[in-house]
C-alpha cells in the first residue's frame, strides 16, 4: 500500500514539474541551477531582472503562429 502511495506521489510530482517547466514557472530556478554549475563566480540576476530578460527574449522571435 505504502509503496503504491509513494509511486502515485512520485507521478503527481513529475506531472507538476512538467507543467511548471512547460509554462516557464520554474525558469528562474533552472537558471540559478545552470548559473551555479556554469558560472559559479558570477553573481546571478535577481528574480525580477531575470524574468524581464526572459520574457524579452521569448517575444523577440516567432513563438506564436496562425
Amino acid at each position: 500500500m505504502q509503496a503504491d502511495d509513494r509511486k502515485t506521489e512520485g507521478r503527481i510530482a513529475r506531472c507538476w514539474a512538467a507543467v511548471r517547466q512547460w509554462s516557464g514557472d520554474d525558469a528562474y530556478e533552472r537558471y540559478l541551477a545552470h548559473q551555479r554549475l556554469a558560472h559559479p563566480d558570477a553573481a546571478p540576476l535577481d528574480r525580477r531582472a531575470f524574468h524581464r530578460h526572459y520574457q524579452q527574449q521569448r517575444f523577440s522571435g516567432v513563438n506564436r503562429c496562425c
Partner: protein
Amino acid sequence: MIKNKIYKNLFWIAVAVVGAFAFGGLALHRGESINALWLIVAALCIYAIGYRFYSAWIATRVLMLDETRLTPAERLKNGRDFMPTQKWVLFGHHFAAIAGPGPLVGPTLAAQFGYLPGTLWILIGSLLCGCVQDMVILFCSTRRDGRSLGQMARDELGAIAGVAALIGTFMILVILIAVLGLVVVNAMKHSPWATATVAATIPIAMLVGLYMHGLRPGKVLEGSLIGVALLLFSVIGGGWIDQLPAVRGYFDWNGPDLAWAVIIYGFAAAVLPVWLLLAPRDYLSTFLKLGTVFMLAIAVVFLAPEIKMPAVTRFIDGSGPIFGGTLFPFVFITIACGAISGFHSLVASGTTPKMIENEKQIRLVGYGSMMLESFVALMAMIAATMLDPGVYFAINTAAGVVGNTPAAAVATISSWGFPVTVEQMQNLAQQMGESSLFGRTGGAPSLAVGMATIFNSAFGSNLLALWYHFAIMFEAVFILTTLDAGTRVGRFMLQDLLGNLWKPLGRTSWTPSVLLSSALVVAAWGYFLRVGVLDPNGGINILWPLFGISNQILAAIALCVATGILVKSGRVRYAWVTGLPLTWLTLITSSAAWEKIMSADPRIGFFAAANDMAGKLAAGLLSPERAAVAPQLILNQRIDGYLTLFFALLLWVILLDMLRVVWRVLSQRRVPPSTETVYQARTGAG
C-alpha cells in the same frame, strides 16, 4: 518476443482495417446525415499509421536521427533559450506555439464545399505535407544551432533565396495579421456582449502582467490562474453589460470603429514593455487554448454529433457564396493551417530547436504536434458541418451576396437548396444572446455557434449564450495574441531591414526607431484590415485566399530549403519526401495565383473585380453608399492582384534557385558549403 511481435502486427493490421472501413463508410455514405464518429475514427487510424510508419521511416532512413549526437540545447546551454527540455514538455511547448486560430477558421470557410473535400485534405495533407515540413525543418534547424529559416535559406541556397525568404516572411505576416484582425472585428461588430468581454481581456492581461512582474515576479502559474478566472468572469460580466440599456450602447460598435480600435491596440502592444501586455496575454491565451481544445475534443467524441452538411456541395463549381473559386485549387488554399502551414517552419526554426534534448525527440515534437493541430482542424470542420447547412450559410455569407434584409437572405440561401427561415435565425440569435447572426462572416461566429451547441449538449446545461460568448472570447484572445506577437516580430524584421539603410534604425531599443517601425508594420496590416471592413462582401472572401496563398508559398519556400539540404547532404534518393509536397504546393499556389490574377470572373479574379466595379461606378449602377467606398475597394483589389503576382514570383525565384543548387550538386560543381554543425558525441552515450 516472437509472440509480442505477432500481437503488434495484429494490432497494426486491425488499425488499418478499422481505418479503411471508416474511410469506406465515409466514401460510400449516401444519405441525409452521417455521424461525426466516422470522421474521427478514420482520422485516428490514419494518424496512428502515419506516425507509426511514415514518421519512423523518415526519422531513421531519411534524417537518420542520431541519439548519440549532442544537440544545441546541450552544447550551448545558457539557462535561458538554449535549454534541454523533456520530450512531452517540449511537445506541449511546440504545440502551443504552432496552434493558432488558423486551423479553426480555414475549415469553417472550406465547409462550403461540403465536409468531405476539406476533411480529406486535412488528413492526407497533414500526413504527407504538413507534418513532414515541420519535422524536417525542425531537424535542419536543430543541426544548425537553431538557425532561422531565412538564415538557412541564405546559408544553404544562396543570397537570392535568403532575401526572398525574408521578404516573403514579412509580407505574409502582414496579410496574416490583417485577416485575423478582420475575423475578430466581424465577431465583435454590433455585439455589446462580445465587445465588452474582449475589451476586458486587455486590462485583465495587464493586471496579470503587473502581478507577475511586480508583486510575485516569475510566478507564471499563479498569475495565469488568476487571469483565467478573471477571463471566465468577464464572459459573465459581458452578459450583464448586455442587459443594461445605459451601458450597452458604449460597447455597440460598428466595423470601421472596431478596426481602428484593433489598429491602436496593435500599435500599443508592440511598443509597450513585453511584461505588461504581451507576455501575460500570451500565458492566458495558451492556457485557455489548450483547455478549450481538450474540452472540445472530449465533447465531440462524447456527443458524436450528426453531420448535416452534404459530403460535397454544388459550390465545388466555383460559385461558392463564402469565397469564389473551384474546389481545385481553392480548398487547398483555404485550409492551410491544419494541413500544411508555412508559418510553422518559423517556429520549427525558432525557439523549439534550441530546446531539443535529444535528436530522437524531433519525431514526436515535429511530426506529432502537427498531427494534433490537424485534429484541431478536423474538430473545427465538424463544428461547422454539424450546423444546419442553411444556418451555416446564413451566418457566413455577407449581406452583399445574399441581400440586406433577413427575408432576402433566407430566400437566397433556401433557393440554393439549403432551407432556412427567418424565425429559425432569430431563435438562434436569441439563444446565443445576440441581436442577429446574419452575415457574421469570418468563421469565428459560426464556429462559436457550433462550439456552444456541442458544449451545451455535452455538459448538459442550458447556457448557450454563455458558451457562445466564451467561444468568441477564446477565439479573440487567441487572435489578439497572434496579432500583437506578430506585430512585434514584424517590427524586429523591419528594424533589421532598415538598419541596412541607416544604422541607428536597426537598434531594437532606440525609441524613435521602435515607434517608426511599429507604426509602419501596423499601418501595413491596418490598411488591409480597414478596406476589408468597408467591403460589403465581408472582406474575408478577398483576404483569406490571399492569406492562404501566402502561407502555402511560405511552406513551399521552407520545403525548398529542406529539399536543398537533403540533396546537399547526400540524400538525393530521399529528396522526394520533401520534393513531393513541394511539387504539390507549387502546383496549387501557382494555379490559385493564376486564377486570382487572370480569371475574368469578378468573384475570383482581383483585376476582374476591380474592372467590374470601376465599370459599374462609371455607369452609375452602384447605390450611393457603395459608390462612396468603391474607389478604395477598386484600388485594394488591384493591390491584392499585384501582391499575389509578387508572392508567386517569390516562390519561383526560390524554387529555381533551389533547383540550380541541386543541379550543381548532381553535376559535382561547387555549392555553398553545408552549415551543419560538426558531430559531437554525448559522453557516456552508447
